[in-house]
Structure formats: structure tokens, C-alpha cells
Symmetry: C2
């Protein structure tokens, strides 16, 4: 068997297991959003907003690959919940900078903390496996995509 084919086989097996595990734990994440009173779209929006820097509507719409009017709609929702504010940017008054409020920052932190908390099954793995998992995963590209 070629080196390449061997890699594909191992990667396939690993991916399948990981993917299944992600699906199996999906309900926990739904429960998190539920508890925080967020829809999936709202949670994605929240995690797109860094606590320090505001972001233009356009850049958000691009990250979410949606229509600008959709971004307006979603940011409206967040604004009505007091999670973000819009501020017109001084250098270009067409651009609205979407900024997290203190409440928004707190909720974002709570959201990320919950989602980043490893499921119990994972913590229960042998330390050797956890280290290997971490080492392997750290070599994956940390694409700053639609998170």
C-alpha cells in the first residue's frame, strides 16, 4: 500500500470516529445555546465579534456568507437584546461598526467557555491519548473561518 493510501485510510478512520463523536455530542451544544437563550445564528454572530474591535456589517455579512440585509436583520436582533451597539465610523460615516456591549461580552465569554468545555468522555481518556490528540490536532490549520 502506498504511503498516501495509508494516510487516507488512517485519516478516514479517525475522521469517521471524530465526526460521529461530534454528532453524538451535538445535543449538549444545543442545550448550551438553549440555556443562554441564543439561536444558532446568534451564537455564530456573537463569536464573530471580538471583544476589542468592532466590525463592519459588510465584513460580517461576508464571514457569514449571507446577504447584507440578512446581517442587518441579525445584528438588529442582537441589538434589541442589548448585546451589541452600532457606531458609525468616524473616517467613513457609511460604515457601521458593530461593537459588543458589556452584556454582549459576558454572554460571548459564557458561550465560548461552555462550548470549549470538553465533554466528560473526552476528559476520561488516558492521558497518553489526550496528549497525542492535542499534538495531532494542533497541527491542523486553525482556519479563521466562520466561527
Amino acid at each position: 500500500m502506498s504511503t498516501r493510501a495509508r494516510a487516507r485510510e488512517s485519516a478516514g478512520a479517525a475522521w469517521r470516529l471524530i465526526f460521529d463523536y461530534i454528532i453524538a455530542t451535538a445535543a449538549e451544544r444545543v442545550a448550551v445555546l438553549d440555556r443562554l437563550g441564543l439561536t444558532p445564528a446568534e451564537s455564530r454572530a456573537l463569536s464573530s465579534l471580538e471583544p476589542k474591535a468592532g466590525r463592519s456589517m459588510r465584513s460580517l455579512a461576508e464571514e457569514w456568507s449571507c446577504d447584507p440585509s440578512n446581517a442587518t436583520w441579525l445584528v438588529d436582533r442582537l441589538e434589541r437584546q442589548g448585546l451589541v451597539t452600532r457606531v458609525a465610523r468616524d473616517d467613513d460615516r457609511r460604515v457601521k461598526s458593530v461593537v459588543l456591549t458589556p452584556k454582549g461580552k459576558r454572554l460571548r465569554r459564557a458561550l465560548i467557555n461552555s462550548l470549549y468545555t470538553p465533554p466528560a468522555d473526552l476528559v476520561a481518556l488516558p492521558q497518553r491519548d489526550l496528549d497525542a490528540l492535542r499534538a495531532a490536532a494542533s497541527k491542523l490549520p486553525a482556519r479563521h473561518g466562520d466561527r
Copy 2:
């Protein structure tokens, strides 16, 4: 540091990396569904249906944790697309068995094949890491949850 705390730390780091990677690759999976003409709910429905055995509406509604009427609605959609058929069970004529048609089986296979194909970044990892990843992941519970 306690053994426990160390596990939590490694698991946390590993989980965070994996989680980010799953989010980063989410668009690929959306593209798969798109290509196959399936909504997320339909794809979940399809993968709940084993090619060999039919399943009652009730058991489907339970697996999807939704209202029975919701299951009716979803299965209606699949049936209209020729992916499943309903057959009344002989031993209890109240129960409808939802069965994949040949077309449904083919589509399910295509769906699972696509989703189980590991992303290129993963295949590109060193063989050593892939083996470790696979070994670690195989120790996770393969909960047969909402997949």
C-alpha cells in the same frame, strides 16, 4: 497538578482545537448537503434510516426529539422525493414502518460517503499523528445518538 486537572487541561486544549476545526470545515459539509439537494433535517433523517430495517414514526420522532407531527412532516418530504415509503406493519396496523427506497439507499450512501471523507488537511497530517488520532478517537463512546 493533580492527575485529574492535567487530564482536564489536555482534554480542553484538544477539544478546543478539534471543535475549531469542525467549525472551520462546516462549510464543506453544507456544500455536500447542497450538492445532494438535502436540508440538514432531511440528511439527519436519511442517516437515521438503516438500509435493512424500517423504523416506526414514533421511534424516529424520539430519536430526533421532536413532535410526532414533525416526523410526519419530514417523512412526507422524503416520501415526496421518492426516498422512503411507508408500510403499515402487519402485526400492528397502527404502526407505519418507514423504509428507504432504492433511491433513498443510494442517496444515503452518497451522503455518508461524502461526510465520512476526511478533509484534505487531516489526510496531510504525519502518519504517526493519524495513527494516534485514530487510536484515541476509537476509545470514545460511539453513542448511537442523533446521527
